[in-house]
Symmetry: C2
Subunit: 511 residues, 2 copies
C-alpha cells in the first residue's frame, strides 16, 4: 500500500489544507517519508456531518452485519501484512515482537466485540408485561433496550499504536455499540494510522455501510480535536493520553450546549504493595518481575508500576539492592517520540534533584531519543508531604516508598489518587493484613491483582481497565474488555407500542 498522508473523510480521501507534518523515526528523531496534512475546520465539519448521517443507518444494522463488519476490519488489518509492522516500528521505536503481539491483540479485540455483538446481551432487553385490568391504573406494556449514543470521537493514543489507536478498543467498542467513529490520529504514528484507517475504510466499503461510519483526521495541533469534541453531532469521546489533554477535553465537553461523556484514561502510577512475608520469601523473584514490568515497552504502559510500597527493613534493603543490580544492566530503549523522551528525562531529573528522594539505580545511558530506566526511593513521611511525588513520570521510572509499618503504609494508600491497578504481593502469612486492605483498594482502582504486576491487560469479559479519577475521567467505565461497549449506550423504554412500531429486537419477548 502506498501511504500518501491524506485524510480519510467518509469514504473519500482528501489532502488536508491545514499545515503539513512528517512522522518522526522514534529511534533517530529523523523525518520519515510521506508528508501528512492537517484537517481544516471544514473537514471536521464534514466528518461529523457524515458520521451523523451514517448513524441513522449504522445504528439499525442487525447484529450479524455489525459483527461481520468488525471481523472484516480485523481481516483487513491482517491483510496489510508486514508493512504495518515495519511502519509502526519506525514511528514508535517499539519492537517487532511487541507490535506483532499488539496487532494480535487488536484483531482479537475486534473479534471479541463481534462475538459480543452477536450474543446481543449489551442490548439489555427487558420486558414488563402489561395488565390492563390492574387497579387503580392499568399496568402498561414496557419494553427496554439500549440504543447507541451517537457518533463517537476517538483520540489515538501514542503508546499503543494499534490497540488503543485508530481501530483500538475505543473504536471497536463504539462501532460494536452502533456508533459511527471519527478518529483524530495521533501525530506520533500517522503512517500506522493511515494504514489502519484505510483498512477500516475498506471494511466499510466491503460491508456496504454508509461511508460516514468512519473517518480519520490528522492534526498538526489541538484544533481538530477541540472542534470535534465541541461538535453537536459528536455524542461521546474516547481518549487515552495525558491528564492535561484529558481534562482539557472534559472541560470542552462539559461546556457544550448538551454536555457529553468523555471517557479519558489519563494518569496512573499503579502502586504495588509488597507485604513483608511475601517479600522476605521471594526478594529475587519479585525484583525480577518488577524490573521486567518497569521497563516493558520502555515503561510506556498505562499500567506501568511507578510506585512500590513496602515495610522498611532487611528484606526491603535486599529487594532494593537486587532491583538496582538488575536495573543497571537494562539497555536504553527508544521512546515513542523525541518529546516523550525529553519529558521522561525531565521527570527523572526532577526526582533526582528532589531533596527527599534518593536515586537507587539507573539503566545504561542512551541517546537523546532513548529512555534510561531509573529507580528512586523515599520515605512514607516524605511521600505524604510532597504531592508532586505522586505525579506520573511516563516511562521506566519508579519510586519505592519505605513505610515504618502497615499502619503507615495504609496512610500512604489513603493519600493516593485514583489508579488503574493496584498489585498486592502476598503469601499465606500476609493474607489477613491484605484482606483488610482490599475494600480500600477497591475504592482506589479498577483492577486489583495478586503476585504480579498489572502491565499486561487481558482483553476479556471480566477485565476492568479504568479507575477513579484521575486514572480515568469516569471511574464507572472500562476501556478494555467487553464491558467497554456500555460506555456508548443508553437505555430507552417503549411503552404500549404496537408490534409494528416496535424496533424488531423488542417484538417477540417473553416476560
Amino acid at each position: 500500500m502506498t501511504l500518501n498522508g491524506n485524510l480519510l473523510v467518509a469514504g473519500k480521501e482528501k489532502r488536508g489544507s491545514n499545515g503539513e507534518f512528517y512522522a518522526t523515526e522514534a529511534a533517530t528523531g529523523k523525518s520519515l517519508p510521506v508528508s501528512f496534512a492537517g484537517a481544516s475546520v471544514d473537514d471536521v465539519e464534514t466528518a461529523a456531518a457524515q458520521a451523523w448521517e451514517a448513524f441513522a443507518s449504522y445504528r439499525e444494522t442487525d447484529l450479524e452485519s455489525r459483527a461481520a463488519f468488525l471481523e472484516t476490519i480485523a481481516a483487513e488489518i491482517e491483510s496489510i501484512g508486514d508493512e504495518l509492522i515495519i511502519r509502526a516500528m519506525s514511528e514508535t521505536g517499539l519492537s517487532r515482537g511487541r507490535l506483532e503481539g499488539e496487532r494480535n491483540r487488536t484483531t482479537g479485540q475486534l473479534r471479541l466485540f463481534a462475538k459480543e455483538v452477536r450474543e446481543g446481551r449489551f442490548q439489555e432487553l427487558r420486558f414488563d408485561a402489561g395488565d390492563p385490568s390492574r387497579k387503580p391504573v392499568p399496568k402498561p406494556d414496557l419494553r427496554l433496550r439500549n440504543v447507541p449514543v451517537g457518533p463517537v470521537a476517538v483520540f489515538g493514543a501514542s503508546n499503543f499504536p494499534l490497540a488503543f489507536s485508530v481501530a483500538g478498543g475505543d473504536t471497536a467498542s463504539a462501532l460494536a455499540a452502533g456508533c459511527p467513529v471519527v478518529v483524530k490520529a495521533h501525530s506520533a504514528h500517522p503512517g500506522t494510522s493511515e494504514l489502519v484507517g484505510r483498512a477500516v475504510q475498506r471494511a466499510v466499503e466491503v460491508r456496504r455501510l454508509h461511508p460516514g461510519t468512519f473517518s480519520l483526521l490528522f492534526d498538526t495541533g489541538f484544533e481538530v480535536g477541540q472542534k470535534l469534541v465541541a461538535d453537536h453531532r459528536i455524542r461521546a469521546v474516547g481518549f487515552t493520553g495525558s491528564r492535561r489533554g484529558g481534562t482539557a477535553l472534559m472541560e470542552i465537553a462539559s461546556k457544550r450546549r448538551q454536555p457529553i461523556p468523555v471517557y479519558a484514561e489519563m494518569s496512573s502510577i499503579n502502586p504495588a504493595i509488597l507485604f513483608p512475608n511475601a517479600l522476605a520469601k521471594n526478594v529475587e523473584g519479585i525484583a525480577a518481575a518488577f524490573v521486567s514490568s518497569l521497563v516493558l515497552g520502555a515503561g510506556q504502559f498505562c499500567t506501568n508500576p511507578g510506585l512500590l510500597l513496602a515495610i522498611d527493613g532487611g528484606a526491603l534493603d535486599a529487594f532494593i539492592a537486587q532491583t538496582a543490580k538488575l536495573l543497571t544492566e537494562v539497555a536504553p530503549q527508544a521512546m515513542l517520540t523525541p518529546s516523550i523522551a525529553r519529558t521522561f528525562c525531565e521527570g527523572v531529573e526532577r526526582l533526582r534533584l528532589h531533596p527527599e528522594v534518593r536515586a537507587v539505580a539507573s539503566g545504561l545511558p542512551g541517546s537523546e531519543f532513548q529512555g534510561t530506566a531509573a529507580l528512586f526511593e523515599t520515605t512514607a513521611s516524605a511521600f505524604l508531604a510532597h504531592d508532586e511525588l505522586q505525579n506520573e513520570v511516563f516511562g521506566a521510572a519508579g519510586i519505592v516508598v519505605r513505610c515504618r509499618d502497615l499502619t503507615e503504609l495504609e496512610t500512604v494508600i489513603d493519600a493516593l489518587e485514583g489508579q488503574l491497578t493496584v498489585a498486592l504481593f502476598v503469601n499465606h502469612d500476609d493474607e489477613a493484613d491484605a484482606r483488610r486492605l482490599v475494600p480500600k483498594l477497591e475504592m482506589l482502582a479498577g483492577r486489583l491483582l495478586v503476585n504480579g504486576f498489572g502491565t499486561g491487560v487481558e482483553v476479556s469479559p471480566a477485565m476492568v481497565h479504568g479507575g477513579p479519577y484521575p486514572a480515568t475521567a469516569d471511574g464507572r467505565s472500562t476501556s478494555v474488555g467487553t464491558l467497554a461497549i456500555y460506555r456508548f449506550l443508553r437505555p430507552v423504554s417503549y411503552q404500549d407500542f404496537s408490534t409494528g412500531l416496535l424496533p424488531p429486537a423488542l417484538r417477540n419477548m417473553k416476560a
Copy 2:
C-alpha cells in the same frame, strides 16, 4: 410521633444552629407548627464523615441483610400512619388520594429494590478462568463485580414529597447499591421529611447498621447542599429539581479534586405528537386524556405534557376547541409552595404576553397560592424562531404547536432539547410515518409511549425515567426502575486472587 425540627445526624438528633424556618401550608401560605433549624457546616462534616465510616461496614452487608433493611424502611414508613399523609397534605397541597398513592409507590419501590438486591444481578459477577499454560503468556484468573461508589448525597424534590424525597428512588437505589445516604431535605416539606427520616433512622437501628448509613439535614439556603456535593467523602449525587439547581451542582461536582457523577433530573416539556389520523378519529378522547394529564397534581409532574405537536387543520381546530372547553372548567389547585405558584404565574404571563403566542383557554381562577391551568398555541415557525418557548413552565401550562405538515413537525422535533418522555398518538394509518420518526425520538428522550401521556411512571425493571441533557445531567441513567441502582456502582476486576482474599461473592464461580 412528635415533630421537633431536629437534624438527624448519624443516628442522633440534633438541633441545627444555622437559621430557623417553618413549613408553609401550601393552600394558605401560613406557617405550620414546629420550627426547623438549618444544618451548619460542621453538621455536614459530621454527616459526611459518619457516612464514610458507615460505608466500610454497610457496603459489606450480605444481600439478605441489605434487602431486609430496605423492607424495614418500607414497614417503618407505613407504621407512621395517617400522620404522614396529613402533614404531607398540609405542606404540599396535594390530595389525600395522591399522597396515599405516592406512599404505596414509595414503599413498593423500596420493596422492589429489596427484591433486586436479593436477586443480586446488579453485582454483574463475571469470571474468566485462567490458563497457566497459555502461550506466549499465561492467562490470568479474572473475576469482576460491581462495588458501590461510596456515600451518596440525595436532594429531596418538592414535587414528590415521598417518592422522590427522603426515602424515594434515589435513596432506595443508593442504599440498595451499598451506599450510605445523606439527604438534604427539601424546605417545601420539612415535616414530611422528618417523619420519613425518622422511619429510616429506626430501620437503621432495628437492622443494627452503622448509624452513619443515613443522615437527614435541613437547610435554610443553598450552603448545606453545596458543601455536601463538594465533600470529598461524597461520591455521587441524586437530585430532582430545577435546571438552575441541577447545573449548579454539576459545576461544583466537576470542580472537585476528584469529580463525581451528578444524577440530576432537571427539565422536560415532554412533547406529545398528535398524528393526523389518530387525532381525526379521536379528538374528544385525546383532549380528555391531555387535560387530565396536564392538570394532574397541579401540573407539577416532571413528565407533565407541556408541548403538543400536530398538523394544522380541522381536526386540530376541533381538538383545541374541545381542550379549551374542558380546561375552562378545571378548578384551580394549590401549588407546592407559594414561590412555585408565583413562578408558574409569571411563566404563564410570559406566554400570554408573547407576541407569537395565542392564549387558548384557562381554568378557573384561584388564590395566589393556586395554579390556574392554561393552554396556548403558536405556529411551528414561531416556535422555531423563539428558543424561550421551549422553557419548561412548571405547572399546568401547555402549548400547542401548529405544523404545516409532517416535514415541518420533524423540523420542530430536530430543534428540541433532551426530554424525559415523548408521546405518540397514532392509529394504524399513521404507523408508517410514526415508525420513521422513532429513531429520532429515541435520541431525544428516555421513554417513548404510544396513545397515552407519560405522567404516570411505572416503577419496574423496564422503566427509564431519564433522558438526554437537559432532561437529566446524564442521559445514560434512569432515576426510576431497577436500572437506577447502576448509577451508584462501578466495576472492579480481581486478578489471580486466592480464595481467601476474594470477596465472598466471587469465591465459588463457574466459567
